[in-house]
Amino acid sequence: MSQPSGAREPLLTLRGVRVGTSEHRHDHEIVRGVDLEVFPGEKLGIVGESGSGKSLTVLSVLRLLPDPPVRLLGGTITFAGQDLSRLDDKRLQKVRGAEIAMVYQDPMTSLNPLLRVRTQIVETLRAHGVDRRTALARCQEVLGQVGLPGAERVGRAFPHELSGGMVQRVMIAIALSVSPRLLIADEPTTALDVTIQQQILELVEDVQARTGMAVVWVTHDLGVVARIVDNVVVMYAGRVVERAPARRLFARPSHPYTLALLGSLPHAGTGHRQPLTQIGGTPPDPSRLERGCPFRPRCPFRVDRCAEEEPPLLDRGLGSFAACWRAPDEWQS
């Protein structure tokens, strides 16, 4: 197992996490057994396409799954030594926000449109036991911290009076206002322009460097991953198919899916208007998988064994693990 931060205890540990729906006592798994660890101060990226289960995996941590119909079917989630799946709602509420904060993709739907920004920040702080006067002062402070000019004016504004980038920074301000030990960001910049995305990435890096909080960044954008994370987890069809330090993953991917994803982007070596590498086929529906490796139908390197058995994560050296029967130097069509 790769331990990027030496022998320290992980802050968050997921073991065998399964998420899905149940119908007539039959489980349809969408997340099919995910193991992962986040160490204090680590920046972990979770990459995957729609349907890969990346969002459901992180939503399961704070029991935020859209239940019904989707629920945690199995596995354990441990945060700082306590098993989150065994906590009652009241005690879990103490962890939400205070210990683990979340930021979502669409900032405009995360704020209450009828309340001023200031009210919503103060409300959050009050819910975490801060008295009203301190909360008001702290509100100005965090708005300033996230680089919003005129914190006073932004605080008085209603969400619709701000741009998407400003609202997302307000959301991050709220998330950071209670000094969490872990920030989980689920595609927080996908709906934003690249220039605003850049400011938000810089902001999170700043705060992270100052406070040492750990960050889990869920995204489909490999550029964002290269930009901010130390370690990457690639998900496909509800499983982790590769886990590696970021530099290692980009320099030498150990799973054919990662290789194909990187190859499909236009890069310096791609000729103008020349065909991009296509992956072919479409991502499978995780609840309707056949036997064997779920990437097999799209994989150029498949062998007979891939149709028989789904590969576990195998050690490929230098901190890299991949769910592929073949090592990269054996890849040939």
């Binding site: 701000l162 741009s163 995305q197 490999l222 236009p266 479409t282």
Partner: protein
């Protein structure tokens, strides 16, 4: 010079506002699209790039200015008729642009029937198969409904529908943004192949700079309803003249941790709230790291600062004065060079 398929001259589009002055989505945009070439349009949300796309296909009329298709002006009196078919629009989300109750064959057949392009059922069927073949879908897809298609397949059907009327040009508004990363390459490859086979012109509107660079011959950068830079793709994204283009290009995170580790700090500055009226002088001046006195006083004209490479920036214009280009009168981009020429 190649034939001009689309020519827009000083196009202005205003939307009435209940309170205060009208919102000016386009503040005088001029551009040309040559036969069998691709014009890429980039800019942040609210810069007017989608509005421009809608005007080019005639979904909306400009408040002022002129749009010519294949040398003929499009206006109320000439009607759009046959001319209208020459430019077709493909939207970002194929599932919201395809009727969920129509099979692929019915969606394509409807277009063929409305425009009287086929006589009889047999001809319609064979033409539907032919269109599916053009976008690399097997004939069995004809009987599918949109919900039975993947994102990439649905976008290919939307492209086939646009091609049904045999247009000269397609306006592609973020055609890959709603698609999964692993199927984007497939749609882009299809578009370049169709362009080569059919000699189509494209207006490719996107915020994905890497994709725009990959597919475009000429790139226009828009900011608050104006073109602030345009020219051959290598020049605009490789050696940008306008500080806004530089900020945009710098902001795109690249899938390479080595490059990202040496990244510069953001230069983009604070974006304006949607619909806000820009300040006097250069509209980019509140965000610009190079801002000078003149930038607050005067609106910079779009000048040809290098051959075929235009920018609207006082600072760039002054710095390039030692290697003078020919100043083009503002609002005419007829001199837009052929890329690579």
């Amino acid at each position: 010079m190649a034939e001009l398929i689309i020519k827009a001259t000083d196009v202005v589009k205003e939307y009435p506002s209940r309170r205060g002055p009208p919102v000016r989505a386009l503040r005088g945009v001029s551009l040309v699209v040559e036969a069998a070439s691709t014009l890429g349009i980039v800019g942040e949300s609210g810069c007017g790039k989608s509005t421009l796309g809608r005007l080019l296909v005639g979904l909306e009329e400009p408040t002022s200015g002129r749009i010519e298709l294949m040398g003929r002006p499009v206006d109320g009196t000439s009607g759009r008729g046959v001319l209208a078919r020459q430019v077709q629009l493909v939207f970002q989300d194929p599932f919201s642009s395809l009727n969920p109750r129509l099979t692929v064959a019915a969606a394509l057949g409807e277009v063929l029937a409305v425009h009287h392009l086929v006589a009889g059922r047999a001809e319609r069927r064979s033409r539907v198969d032919e269109l599916l073949g053009m976008v690399a879908l097997a004939p069995r897809f004809a009987s599918r409904y949109p919900h039975e298609l993947s994102g990439g397949q649905a976008q290919r059907v939307a492209i086939a529908r646009a091609l049904a009327v045999q247009p000269q040009a397609l306006v592609l508004d973020e055609p890959t943004s709603a698609l999964d990363v692993s199927v984007r390459a497939e749609v882009i490859n299809l578009l370049t192949r169709l362009q080569d086979e059919l000699g189509l012109s494209y207006v490719f509107i996107s915020h994905d700079l890497a994709m725009v660079r990959h597919i475009s011959d000429v790139i226009c950068v828009m900011y608050l309803g104006k073109v602030v830079e345009s020219g051959p793709y290598e020049a605009v994204l490789g050696a940008p003249l306008h500080p806004y283009t530089r900020a945009l290009a710098d902001a795109v995170p690249l899938p390479d941790p080595e490059v990202e580790a040496s990244r510069r700090k953001s230069t983009a500055g604070e974006a304006l709230v949607l619909g806000a009226e820009p300040p006097g002088g250069c509209p980019y001046n509140p965000r610009c790291p190079l801002v000078e006195e003149v930038c607050r006083a005067q609106i910079p004209a779009l000048l040809e600062l290098r051959p075929g490479h235009f920018a609207a920036c006082h600072v760039a214009a002054r710095e390039l004065v030692s290697t003078p280009g020919t100043p083009a009168p503002p609002g005419t981009l007829g001199a837009l060079g052929t890329p690579g020429a």
